[in-house]
């Protein structure tokens, strides 16, 4: 446990400045539209859109943060000089990144709530339970970004596993790119098989997938869209995530060299 705390502390140290930068970036893109609204005396013309867009951007935050940390470690790969399990090494980075992302999303969500409270009468919300919806929305964003992150981690380990072949060294990115295309082709081929699709989409549960913001004569409509998410597809994504994580850790243990 002490070791994991140490890892968390280290990963926080190496990445905290990027996080603060990101928060600064978010603040800037909240203040800017707000200033425009004040200037043009047009309340709610820019800010709500900015809030939703910034929140949506967080799908890329976790992969971005993870890759930045890995890029730093990859300079020497000496982070691998460590008796801890490689799963622990990477988990610490993921935990820190998720914590950042949650804080950032919470920040944006709070801004959104403040706007909502100020202009309550202008909004028509179709759903009564705002809290649950916002929670699922944020959790969904984190999960999607986590899924992307695991793919990034996978490609990153593949890339660095190829580092020990001098001939490949300059062409590693091409190899990774081809692998990416190949895997995409396979997945779209599998998607095109109807039988498979039928099975995967058989059982469904309702989940909130993103928010929409509409303007009509009556005012603004903030809609949190629910979607019926197929259970088996979900299971498949979880399985893919676990698989990617395990394979990447194996590569990290056996193939990535200092």
């Amino acid at each position: 446990m002490l070791a994991f705390q140490g890892l968390l502390k280290k990963d926080f140290h190496i990445s905290k400045n990027w996080f603060f930068l990101w928060i600064g970036f978010l603040a800037l893109f909240l203040i800017l539209p707000f200033a425009l609204e004040v200037y043009f005396h047009q309340p709610l013309s820019f800010l709500p859109i900015a809030v939703i867009m910034l929140l949506g951007f967080h799908v890329f935050f976790l992969p971005g943060m993870l890759l930045s940390m890995l890029r730093l470690e990859g300079k020497t790969q000496l982070w691998l000089y460590n008796p801890q399990n490689s799963k622990l090494l990477i988990l610490s980075k993921i935990v820190i990144s998720i914590a950042y992302q949650l804080i950032a999303q919470l920040f944006i969500t709070c801004v959104g709530l403040v706007i909502y409270l100020f202009f309550k009468d202008l909004f028509i919300l179709d759903k009564a339970d705002l809290f649950i919806e916002l929670t699922t929305l944020n959790a969904g964003l984190v999960l999607i970004s986590l899924y992307f992150s695991l793919w990034c981690f996978f490609y990153w380990t593949v890339y660095h596993s190829l580092g020990k072949y001098p001939k490949m060294k300059n062409w590693r990115w091409l190899f990774v790119f081809v692998l990416f295309i190949l895997l995409s082709l396979i997945s779209s081929f599998l998607e095109s098989i109807d039988v498979l699709q039928d099975i995967l989409t058989k059982w469904k549960i309702p989940v909130i997938m993103g928010a929409s913001f509409k303007y009509s004569h009556a005012g603004y409509t903030l809609g949190l869209n629910t979607m019926n998410l197929p259970v088996l597809t979900l299971v498949l994504y979880v399985a893919i995530s676990v698989g990617l994580f395990v394979i990447s850790c194996l590569l990290l243990d056996r193939k990535v060299e200092v």
């Binding site: 140490g6 400045n17 020497t76 000496l78 691998l80 008796p83 200092v258």
Partner: protein, 238 residues
């Protein structure tokens, strides 16, 4: 703890970094792994530290085949720039203390004082020599059965080298530890060594007990190294 390499080869593409190397390192001895830059010294140490894997052959530390996990028993001073930007000396020491169970914090404090390192200094602001001393603090603070030092003197001025030799002698436990020093600066470490091993283009071309070398052949390690290297080059060219 003994370290054993059996018929180890390591290739990078078609280039051999190590060619069928077999070596045994015994507990309680100090070994010098000597050779010019690019001769395979660093690869050998990285292999013992579990950071590089052989293409063929076997590397064992205390009868355990080496994997990345072996770092629990192997303290390794790298020639690379290992520090994170933004870290202070204290951050780095504390990080090591959490990762390695054999890290001795009391010893670390003593060593920091001895090496004149300030805990609160940002590593970024330290000179190359000072960073080198910090690396040494991190490696020597561990009570690991195997101690690997890759170019421990690089970037250090001669006065500091002297005190570092002393620290090495003060802080290693000769009953339990095996120490391997890879360097091309032979003069500094000669009196420290039990055995000298010369490596050239990935081949071990000689291994001698330092005192026997002087007694039987009247040669210092440096003389012997020069002779061996010269013969080797002559052989390769002719």
């Amino acid at each position: 703890m003994a370290v054993k390499l059996s018929n180890v080869s390591k290739k990078y593409g078609k280039e051999f970094s190590l060619k069928n190397v077999s070596l045994t390192f015994e507990t309680g001895k100090i070994y010098g792994l000597l050779g010019p830059n690019g001769s395979g010294k660093s690869t050998t140490l990285k292999m013992i530290a579990g950071l590089v894997y052989p293409n063929s052959g076997k590397v064992e530390v205390g009868n355990e085949e080496v994997s990345r996990k072996i770092s629990k028993n192997v303290a390794y001073l790298t020639e690379l720039d290992m520090f994170y930007p933004g870290f202070t000396v204290a951050n780095m020491v504390d990080y090591y203390a959490t990762q390695f169970t054999d890290f001795d914090s009391v010893k670390a404090e003593e060593l920091l004082k001895e090496m004149k390192l300030e805990r609160e200094k940002k590593i970024k602001q330290l000179s190359k020599g000072t960073r080198g001393r910090l690396k040494l603090v991190l490696a020597l603070s561990r009570n690991a059965p195997v101690l690997l030092l890759d170019e421990p003197f690089s970037g250090l001025d001669p006065m500091v080298r002297d005190s570092i030799v002393k620290s090495l002698l003060s802080y290693i436990n000769f009953d339990l530890q095996t120490m391997i020093i890879a360097t091309h600066e032979i003069d500094e470490i000669e009196p420290l060594l039990d055995e000298a091993i010369v490596i050239f283009h990935g081949n071990i071309i000689g291994q001698k007990n330092v005192e026997e070398l002087r007694e039987e052949e009247g040669l210092s390690v440096l003389d012997w190294f020069k002779d061996t290297a010269k013969n080797m080059e002559a052989k390769m060219n002719g």
